[in-house]
């Protein structure tokens, strides 16, 4: 039997974009930037809002959570609904501006998944190369990276529209520009004024060129799907009470491995946010009542 945890939500992704180098701290030649008073770009995927984080105005509610938890026998596990889903230890999209992989074919490194419900915490670390878990990403063979990497970036406005309600990216940007101009007129702090000036300048570029990446990026999804091998999961809390059974912690050689599949998309270059939606499948043994 399998326990299927479906999750989704908005994430923070403060990513420099090509042709900037991957360690560009502020953004210059790409289309994403750290504006006045903001910390440097860090490339980290924050599935939960970072500590001491002030989202840019216009940001959606942030955080990825479990939206449904259902066993393949059809029984729901409501105690897991609302659990937070997180990637720990500073995960980044390791593309390094075409050095590690082509755009859209990058892995997330490290991939340390944690699901946290009130009575149960599940953590599973997935090394990029399970046979050599300490190998740094730049030394891992392309074929090994490909197993865990995204499978290209696809133009899927329908996927984005259904998941987020965003169907017209140009309208989103036009509305955002109007909102920021209003905000700018009322702002009195010089640093915040400058940050708004920067955002407004970039949105004006977008509106003037609707085929620009600042507009088009919202329509794309980047899909990941891979078996989770590597060290067994760490599971703490009341498994039986929460799920009615025992989760298989898995291992490097699991015949029936955990599987995860998700997409990242609806990338908003102004807000530095993206949407995540997917499911985690955990082999599961029912415990007699």
């Amino acid at each position: 039997m399998i326990l299927v945890l479906s999750f989704e939500g908005w994430i923070v992704l403060r990513l420099p974009t090509d042709p900037d180098p991957s360690d560009e701290p502020r953004g210059v030649s790409g289309y994403t930037f750290a504006f006045a008073g903001e910390p440097d770009l860090d490339r980290v995927l924050y599935l939960q809002p970072p500590a001491n984080w002030t989202p840019r105005s216009g940001s959606p509610p942030l955080g990825v959570t479990v939206r449904s938890a259902v066993r393949t026998d059809g029984r729901a596990c409501p105690a897991l609904v609302g659990a937070t889903v997180d990637l720990l230890d500073g995960p980044v999209l390791e593309n390094r501006q075409w050095t590690i992989s082509l755009p859209g074919y990058e892995p997330i490194v490290p991939f340390h998944l944690q699901v946290t419900a009130p009575q149960l915490t599940i953590r599973r670390d997935m090394p990029l190369d399970p046979s050599n878990p300490d190998a740094p990403v730049w030394e891992v063979a392309p074929a090994v990276i490909a197993v865990q990497a995204a499978d290209g970036m696809q133009y899927e406005p329908q996927t984005i529209g259904h998941a987020t309600g965003i169907w017209d990216s140009l309208q989103v940007v036009t509305d955002r520009l109007a909102m920021l101009e209003q905000e700018r007129a009322e702002e009195t702090d010089p640093t915040k004024q400058t940050a708004l000036d920067g955002r407004i300048a970039e949105l004006k570029i977008a509106v003037a060129t609707p085929t620009d990446r600042r507009i088009m990026a919202r329509y794309f999804v980047e899909r990941f799907a891979f078996p989770m091998l590597g060290p067994p999961a760490t599971i703490t809390g009341d498994q039986v009470g929460t799920t009615g059974g025992t989760l298989d912690p898995g291992g490097t050689d699991s015949k029936n491995p955990w599987r995860i599949a998700f997409w990242l998309g609806a990338w908003d270059p102004d807000l530095l946010c993206a949407y995540m939606q997917g499911a985690l499948e955990i082999p599961f043994t029912e415990e007699p009542a």
Binding site: P21, Q97, W98, G104, T194, A195, R213
Partner: protein, 423 residues
């Protein structure tokens, strides 16, 4: 100019030789311009910790973006001129004289030198990019900037003559290069904009087209002129307009804050002997120049390819454009201008865009892969040594150098694997 002799010689007469010479000169010029623009960008301060405020830094961010966009388009122009040369059966030209060059070079009346971002550099850049015979609003703008503005632009006139020669020499013997040797945007940037094909929309503001006949050749020249000087029509996004905007904005900032300096205190002539004497700074500068020279070796094989397989061309592309230019050269350049030139710390080092070896096509395929592979390995090793030198470099510098090292390890390994070079 075309003569009757040209026709009787099947188009291989003096007019054609003049065309080839002018295109080679154009390649040198585009190459030299992009180095000067990149140098100006690399000199820009990048943090409020460097003595600028947030408002100034935001303006500088936009200047940096604009200068890099122009530099990318100069690379595009170099690629387009290579296509023109290849189309008429000539070899791409990727070498150029060292900096600095006096005002008599190329009959420009404008010196070529590596200079930090500022009014002096921007003034020269405007003169490089101004329309052939400025008139109307362009002339007024120029005169407002500098009463000594030249009356004409020799680079623009060069392209005018190229255009005239192309038309005059058009015939069956002019476009004799193999069409398959032409490069277009998808060959440089093989991944479309994340899966979406947007015809005629430049990727990263770069739009490389094939030259196979007179129409495409003239369109290529027109594109270079339009992007540079903005004519016809006075494009607000031309290089000329962008540099004028930057000049005027910088002047305005200086009126409000005379102490404002957007550039790091880089050495005045980075190519002069003794310009940099701190060994650890020299090491980074030399690594930048070595990486630049290696890029040129790769580009030679890419633009002058003959018998390479598709896989080998893909491997060249995969090494030279994004990884080497963005993941190696730019970070090294940015680090270089942070490092002290001399022990007193008053000035900082800067790249010289000099190559210690002659840069030419490595003509023999297998040995070329071995030479380039050796260069990449050496670059990786040297970057690794520098990254580990925590006694000489600040932690942030070591971190950037470490990433450059890692990128080079990967680039070298992938190149050797793809080219089947023994390691």
């Amino acid at each position: 100019m075309s003569t009757a002799t040209d026709q009787t010689l099947g188009g291989l007469g003096p007019g054609r030789r003049r065309l080839a010479a002018l295109l080679s000169e154009a390649a040198e010029l585009e190459h030299a311009l992009l180095c000067q623009y990149l140098h100006a960008y690399l000199s820009l301060k990048r943090s409020v910790d460097e003595g600028v405020n947030w408002q100034q830094l935001e303006l500088m961010r936009q200047w940096g973006a604009s200068v890099l966009l122009i530099a990318r388009q100069e690379m595009e122009h170099l690629g387009l001129v290579s296509n023109l040369l290849t189309a008429i059966g000539e070899a791409p030209r990727l070498s150029r004289p060292d900096f600095p060059l006096g005002p008599r070079a190329y009959d420009l009346g404008i010196p070529f030198r590596l200079e930090p971002f500022g009014l002096e550099a921007l003034r020269r850049f405007i003169f490089f990019e101004m329309p052939a015979q400025p008139a109307g609003a362009d002339l007024k703008r120029l005169q407002a900037l500098d009463e000594r503005a030249p009356e004409h632009n020799s680079i623009a006139l060069l392209y005018e003559e190229i255009s005239e020669l192309l038309s005059a020499l058009d015939g069956p013997d002019l476009f004799i290069g193999p069409p398959g040797a032409q490069y277009t945007t998808p060959a440089i940037i093989p991944v479309p904009i994340r899966g979406v094909q947007t015809p005629n929309h430049p990727v990263y503001d770069v739009y490389l087209t094939a030259v196979t006949d007179l129409e495409s050749a003239q369109a290529t020249v027109a594109q270079i002129v339009l992007e540079g000087e903005g004519t016809p029509g006075g494009s607000p996004t031309s290089h000329f307009a962008r540099f004028c905007d930057m000049f005027e904005q910088l002047e305005q900032q200086l009126r409000a804050d005379p102490g404002f300096d957007p550039a790091r205190p880089v050495v005045a002539d980075p190519c002069a002997p003794g310009a940099v004497t701190v060994a650890s700074s020299l090491a980074v500068r030399d690594l930048f120049d070595f990486a630049y020279a290696t890029i040129l070796l790769l580009l030679h094989r890419f633009f002058a390819h003959a018998d390479e397989s598709r896989a080998e061309l893909a491997a060249l592309q995969a090494a030279v454009f994004f990884p080497m230019m963005t993941g190696v050269l730019r970070p090294l350049g940015e680090v270089c201008t942070q490092l002290p030139a001399h022990a007193d710390g008053a000035t900082t080092a800067a790249p010289t865009f000099t190559y210690a070896r002659d840069i030419a096509l490595l003509p023999h395929r297998r040995s070329a892969w071995m030479v380039i592979s050796g260069c990449l390995d050496s670059l990786a090793d040297e970057a690794g040594v520098l990254a580990a030198d925590t006694a000489s470099y600040a932690p942030a510098v070591c971190a950037r150098l470490a990433l450059v090292h890692q990128n080079l390890v990967r680039i070298a390994r992938d190149f050797a694997t793809n080219m089947r070079v023994g390691r």
